[in-house]
Symmetry: C2
Subunit: 299 residues, 2 copies
Amino acid sequence: MFKKILIIGCGLIGSSILRGSITKKISKHYFVYEKSHKNIQKIKKISNKIRILKILDNKLSDVDLVVLSTPMSEYEKIIPNLNRYLNKNCLITDVGSTKENILKLKNKRLSKSLDWITSHPISGSEVSGPEYGTKNLFVNKWCVVVNDKNKTKQNKLLKFWKKLGSKVIIMDAKTHDKIFSITSHLPHLIAYNLIKTAQDFQKKQKKDVIKFSAGGLRDFSRIAASNEIMWRDIFFNNKKNIVSAINLFINNLNSFKKNIENLDDRTLRKKLTNSKKVRQHILSLKQDVAKPDFGREQD
Amino acid sequence: MFKKILIIGCGLIGSSILRGSITKKISKHYFVYEKSHKNIQKIKKISNKIRILKILDNKLSDVDLVVLSTPMSEYEKIIPNLNRYLNKNCLITDVGSTKENILKLKNKRLSKSLDWITSHPISGSEVSGPEYGTKNLFVNKWCVVVNDKNKTKQNKLLKFWKKLGSKVIIMDAKTHDKIFSITSHLPHLIAYNLIKTAQDFQKKQKKDVIKFSAGGLRDFSRIAASNEIMWRDIFFNNKKNIVSAINLFINNLNSFKKNIENLDDRTLRKKLTNSKKVRQHILSLKQDVAKPDFGREQD
């Protein structure tokens, strides 16, 4: 499908793309550009087919797929090298979690002769680093591809994600950023904020509360352990939608608080019952494991 | 250890106590009082040692352990029968999630000749009903026992929970209700509120957002699928502490929002980094599975 794939930034997502691509024989050659020396040692162990690039130079001239999987804040620094060394047949994509900012950056900085179609695979977890990547990370997961006028390359990109196992969907950047502000960015922010609140409470009360976290808090601590650079970039780049989402959330929470203060049984119970339906919907869409408590068992 | 155990209300928790007690031979006889006809059929299948009571009457006279595991709002209706039929050697306990209200109820309604020492096993999940109970539900989980002046019976109760596998801890009711407002009640409320917010957003935008819930939302949907009667009771009975917790949460969230609006990299990154430490602490205390993403795999 490709001759030379280059993965720029090879952590959890980059290394999963690499593993999946090698397994599915998506390319003849595999190049990785990665700054972390520690990560490079781990990547070398994945397969002897991988060639590590120390600099981005004219070895890029016949690369036909570039996947940017660094934190989004790194993209700007990389673009000048893409402009300098890539040829116009190459397809560029990325796996960033917000899209409008990437379109803006591309329009501003990328050479007009190059094609960058931006993607967002909805996969990942609280851990970072190439040692956690797996070839099946994208299997049966959604991958959003942002609508592009170059249909030949867009189709090629869709085919690429499908080969890795993704269910693909085409969307415009604005819609993407709105939807994911609710389904992903707000939940992460809320989880971070809940853990911060527990920490503040613990400090104030001088009581060890974390040890009783099995009653609910522990679930949030998983999400709140996600990579801080990645999430800083997301919060900053999707600022407008996230601020709207926070405001909607606070309004709802104030109304919930009033229901509790007024012992408003009817309204409260309606809310608690309606929420249950969402879980059923998610399970029917196979977007989560159906086992109680995620099938999680203590070590 | 006991001659006759009576479980009043036999759902997830009650049936787990029953299963654990039978396995550990904690009692000679096992009685269950349960209103749901459907549940009774399921309970009968657990063991032929179980005897179902259709009414609470003088068969209770030689029961030496009563465990209330109905929703807390049912307790008041049951107490007159305990007063009428139990003898003074009997130990009464419950598994309610808030404690100050139970002490108040007991002081107001329970016969002075009877002993009720209140407990809270920190176990459970989003599913309800006796079919989900397991004999190991309490193994290595905390069980809070509220400090009582009758030390003989308190020790007996501690021994009971230990036999079921719990790690026991004695606490006063006020401290309990404060701690669990943060580690359990607020997380549940926040999860319910996040799902409500996603539902409102979906309605307003006329977009199917739930199908993209794998990016974070699905985790909250699990907790927000918890039993609505149980959680209504908790929110109402721990109103004061929960309202304080909500206020603390909203203050922190507003400050988070400001950090994002001002692109305040330093403060935001400090918060995101500090939260990660809580996960490490929880894992070191073995309060959650150490596997990424709870070791969850798609069906």
